[in-house]
């Protein structure tokens, strides 16, 4: 079996950190310890004091295949993920056609098997994500699909969402909501507030997210089935989440790197690279999200990686599509902004351990993600140097698209190597597959 020695790394534990080498054999970790010898013929990767940690898991990536292969494919999206330190991503079902039936799901999963990281799939809750008729959740669950969402849209009909929750609870799968009441957000192109008022751009009120979240929490309370909330963006949403969790409701939530770091003031440039849904909010929301992540209220950081062709982002602001890239920069963006608020171990828990559990990709659920750096564990690892810094360059992105809001920004912390199932798919920041 091919062997790999990661030399001179730092291993994080609950109590601190220790120097250590990690010996990988095949797709698993064989040994962890100081001064391990490379067996004859083994590959050696220098960690140079960088942190060796479980590979990152993204709960929320738009890989665009099938349907929009000009913007991204499973191959390019998974390569972008690997460069960002991810060893697993959950592909969102808002493709063309949507992942709302077994044959489409099978195709995506098959393509995912050749990718640079594990590609898990979220199924649609309703046929065509139209919010009218239930998709075959049971058949899709039979393929191992655990998360279901109409992401890109929320399920508008409360009665349908109630029935979907009931139906999903029989199957043991989890529904994930994109909280947006369209009667409140209709026409909105950015956050509704002082900036939208000044710029003359129709806004999306916080209400559109909070009203649907409130509705869904009432449904969860009544039905007793679990639910995951995608990309929460407002202080009010986090307050509602805090109450729900203290009440013991079975809910989890993610926030995105961009909602943790950028505000609606960016839109003053009218550059639609800053156009995203939910929209960039205000500084007070950013602070609430950071607080929620630091104190463990927020379960996961997820990218909502949303590639778009350059031409579509050059349209007038209100005609440009929503969404920005995330996979390649997520960990560095968050570490740069949050290293004074939480430890790297805590941040990595929100990037790996907890999302792996939510997606049921963790070892305890029979998966291979979000484990420990210990002998016998799967060799899905990231080597992250928290002290290195670099500038994001559009031209160097692995994604087919270029719509990152972080181009030209200097970030702290850099992914050096990514090891997927024992294979170094990224070495010194360069994709090798």
């Amino acid at each position: 079996m091919p062997e790999l020695l990661i030399k001179g790394g730092r291993l994080l534990s609950g109590t601190g950190q220790a120097r250590g080498d990690v010996l990988v054999s095949g797709d698993s970790i064989l040994a962890v310890g100081e001064g391990l010898e490379a067996p004859l013929g083994a590959r050696v990767l220098e960690a140079d004091g960088a942190v060796v940690a479980p590979g990152l898991v993204d709960l929320h990536a738009h890989l665009r295949q099938p349907g929009s292969e000009v913007a991204e494919t499973i191959e390019t999206g998974s390569r972008a993920a690997a460069v960002g330190g991810y060893t697993a991503v959950v592909a969102m079902p808002n493709t063309e056609p949507a992942i709302d039936e077994v044959s489409v799901a099978r195709d995506v999963l098959a393509l995912g098997r050749q990718a640079c990281c594990e590609v898990s799939v979220a199924g649609a809750i309703t046929i065509g994500r139209k919010g009218e008729r239930l998709a075959p959740l049971g058949q899709l669950a039979g393929l191992g699909i655990h998360l279901f969402t109409d992401d890109g849209r929320g399920v508008q009909d409360a009665s349908l969402m109630r029935r979907a929750l009931e139906y999903a609870s029989d199957l043991g799968v989890v529904l994930a909501e994109h909280c947006e009441d369209e009667s409140l957000s209709a026409g909105g192109q950015m956050h509704e507030g002082a900036w939208s008022s000044r710029l003359g751009i129709p806004g999306q009120s916080r209400l559109s997210e909070e009203v649907m979240l409130g509705r869904d929490l009432a449904l969860v309370r009544s039905v007793g089935a679990p639910m995951h909330f995608l990309h929460l963006s407002t202080a009010g949403s986090l307050e509602a989440l805090r109450r729900a969790k203290s009440e013991g409701l079975p809910v989890t939530a993610e926030v995105t790197p961009h909602h943790l770091t950028l505000t609606d003031a960016e839109v003053a440039s009218y550059d639609s690279v800053y156009k995203v849904n939910p929209p960039l909010r205000e500084a007070s929301d950013v602070e609430a999200l950071r607080q929620g992540l630091a104190d463990g209220l927020v379960d996961a950081v997820a990218t909502d990686h949303a590639p778009h062709q350059a031409e579509t982002k050059e349209r007038p602001f209100d005609e440009a599509p929503f969404g920005m890239l995330g996979l390649e920069t997520a960990l560095s963006v968050c570490w740069t902004a949050l290293s004074d608020r939480l430890s790297l171990a805590e941040l990595l828990a929100a990037f790996s351990t907890r999302p792996a559990r939510i997606a049921r990709l963790d070892v305890a659920s029979g998966g291979r993600q979000g484990g420990a750096v210990a002998a016998g564990q799967p060799a899905n690892l990231v080597v992250f140097d928290p002290e290195a810094s670099y500038e994001v360059e559009r031209a160097r992105l692995c994604s087919l698209s270029r719509n990152t809001p972080f181009a030209g920004r200097k970030l702290r912390g850099r992914v050096r190597h990514t090891i997927y199932e024992g294979e170094p798919v990224v070495i010194d920041g360069e994709a090798r597959r």
Partner: protein, 326 residues
Amino acid sequence: MSREHLLSISDLGREGIEGVMQLADSFKEVARRPIPKVPTLRGRTVATLFFEASTRTRLSFETAARRLSADVMTFVASSSSLEKGESLRDTVETIDAMGIDAMVVRHRSAGVPSQVTGWTSAAVVNAGDGQHEHPTQALLDCYTIREALSEKMGRELSTDFSGLRIGIVGDICFSRVARSDVLAFSLLGADVTLIAPRTLLPPSLEGWPATATADLDGVLDDLDVVYLLRIQAERAGQVLLPELDEYHSRFGLTRERAARLRKETLVMHPGPMIRGVEIAPEAADLPGSLVTRQVRNGVLVRSAVLLRLLSGTAAGGVDASEEPGA
């Protein structure tokens, strides 16, 4: 140094506004000549790019450019390649390649003139972008108020509006005219009050140099200028507003309200005016109504803006002895 554009009133500041007013004064005399033209911009080309139909504003800009002897190129979206699916960027770059000195841009989307500056080396003038701004409208409004105050009060022309109380009535939220006017009037020192139901106010007035009220009758007697905005018919009878007759009774300049106005109170409207909605049919013809004067001044002010942007610096005006060349 990057080129000067006029995208927002805030690009000009108070001194910029004053500069445009003084330049416009020099065109007043030109406008009265048998051949109302000066050769200042001969050989220069001004393109009007109207992605949203507006014959009045376009004609005003084109007339303004011709009075400076500039060549004028007209691009109207309905007769263009946009319908064939050409992107905004390609359209702008194509026109730019023809050798253009100024682009006057009107678009239904906020921010387009600002985007256009990245795709052309020409000076860009915002002729109205979505619900964002319409800076030349605000400039002509300032010019009109300045002129009317001087005539009515018999005082010198002054761009100092300190103490002047201006009420802007109506559809503030969706109005680019309101956004530019609020900035311009307050830069010149006026007290600005926005008068509208809350549903037609912007969601946030943070940072706006203006106060707001829904009580027109409560403030009407204090106003020196009543600036009425057009209410789009499709706004009424929906969720933001009941039917138009209710709007007229609460926020229209009715005959009764018009009768209450002081003799020197100015009444303004950016046009096109809907009599019977924002203004009673009779009130539109009051002596204090400046509506047609606004239109006339539009040409002067737009000439001033084009000259300012194309002469490189805020030039000192037009030499009155200049005559159009052969």
